[in-house]
């Protein structure tokens, strides 16, 4: 719990990024191009957040970076498939 409280500013930043991405997707639902741009920006920000977070904790490893990248790419794949299909 103490650890989470210490990480709270980090996670609030992450939640802010994700919330902004969600709002962007909702507000610009009529513009597929913008939705794709929002998805890429959000996924990139997520990976950057992960790298920064682990760098600050001094536990950044290549495997960790790959893990964030894999989650981001998977999320992007899901969003792209829906946006393009829609």
């Amino acid at each position: 719990m103490k650890k989470f409280a210490r990480d709270l500013p980090h996670f609030l930043t992450l939640f802010g990024i994700l919330f902004a991405g969600f709002i962007g997707f909702t507000l610009f639902s009529y513009d597929k191009g913008f939705q794709i741009a929002v998805a890429i920006a959000t996924a990139s920000s997520y990976v950057i957040w992960g790298v920064m977070h682990h760098f600050l904790h001094k536990d950044l490893h290549f495997e960790t970076f790959i893990e964030y990248l894999a989650v981001a790419i998977l999320g992007l794949t899901i969003l792209f498939s829906l946006v393009i299909r829609g």
Partner: protein
């Protein structure tokens, strides 16, 4: 390895998977992404091979589009638009033209403007506008999408228009089965506009191919009624599976499964105080939770 051991290996932190569910390993996540891509290729292929099974199931009626459009106008203190059969025929012809020439735009590749359909059907206007939508599964989804777009909303809520015509056509548009809705607005020449508190409409000297909802004030030349044969609105009630819905179901299943495994992982790792190298599970849950929320709100259909 027994079934239980396999399931534990896949979904729970255990010695066999280095205290991290195998499905959460980076290699597995890449594999799942490849699976999503392959599922899309299969859906695309199947919708071409079996167009009567996989396609856009649509039961959109022009009357419903007009009713919903007028509902929006009335809610905003505007007069309801009356249906004009000439405008409807012109809208139908525009939709058919898009299918025949394979374009999805306000202006045809050969330069044919939306307004030429008004003129060809003998509709002399002082104000004219066009909204286009495709691949929506219901009239309400299409009207809602227009209302969410400022330029299309401006058309729907313009006090300059008196009449409306809707064309709904179905067919193959540039290789994919589509349902196109053409919404034509107009005010006939010689008619006075009931109330124009604020002139929001743009006055354009000549039609310009802008990729947004078009709105134009222009007086028509002498009407020339073209003897165009307007095809009947197609019926796609036999289509069984929507590619979009299938994609959405696959996305929900993948995201839901990963979120469930991540949540269990978060609890077990904290309880057992497992120390391991890797990303923050809570961060992954937050990111995939956002993806899940977006998947839930996404709807099929495009507008221009």
């Amino acid at each position: 390895m027994s079934v239980v051991k396999t399931l534990v290996h896949l979904f729970l932190p255990h010695e066999s998977n280095n205290q991290k569910a195998k499905i959460l390993h980076s290699s597995s996540l890449w594999l799942i992404a490849v699976f999503v891509i392959f599922s899309q290729i299969i859906i695309s292929g199947a919708s071409k091979v079996f167009p009567s099974v996989l396609g856009c199931a649509s039961s959109i009626s022009p009357e419903e589009v007009i009713r919903l459009t007028n509902e929006q106008r009335l809610q905003n203190g505007l007069n309801a638009l009356s249906e004009n059969s000439t405008l409807s025929s012109a809208a139908q012809a525009k939709g058919t033209d898009m299918l025949n020439k394979g374009y999805w735009a306000h202006f045809a590749p050969d330069g044919t403007s939306p307004w030429s359909f008004f003129i060809n059907f003998g509709y002399r206007y002082t104000f004219a506008g066009e909204n286009l939508a495709r691949d929506f599964c219901s009239a309400s989804d299409a009207v809602n999408a227009w209302m969410n777009s400022p330029s299309h909303k401006e058309n729907i809520l313009s006090p300059n228009y008196k009449e409306i015509g809707i064309g709904v056509v179905q067919g193959n548009l540039a290789g994919s089965d589509s349902t196109i809705i053409v919404q034509f607005f107009g005010a006939r020449a010689g008619e006075t506009v009931a109330s124009i508190p604020v002139a929001k409409a743009q006055t354009l000297p000549s039609p310009s191919p802008v990729p947004v909802a078009a709105l134009q004030i222009q007086s028509t030349p002498q009407p020339t009624i073209a003897a165009t044969t307007v095809p009947e609105v197609g019926s796609a009630s036999s289509i069984l599976v929507s590619p979009f819905k299938t994609t959405k179901d696959v996305s929900l299943a993948v995201t839901g499964l990963l979120l469930a495994v991540l949540s269990i992982d978060l609890i077990i790792v904290r309880r057992r105080r497992i120390v391991r190298i890797g990303g923050r599970t809570l961060a992954h849950i937050a990111f995939l939770g956002m993806i899940l929320a977006v998947v839930l709100i996404l709807k099929a259909g495009r507008i221009i």
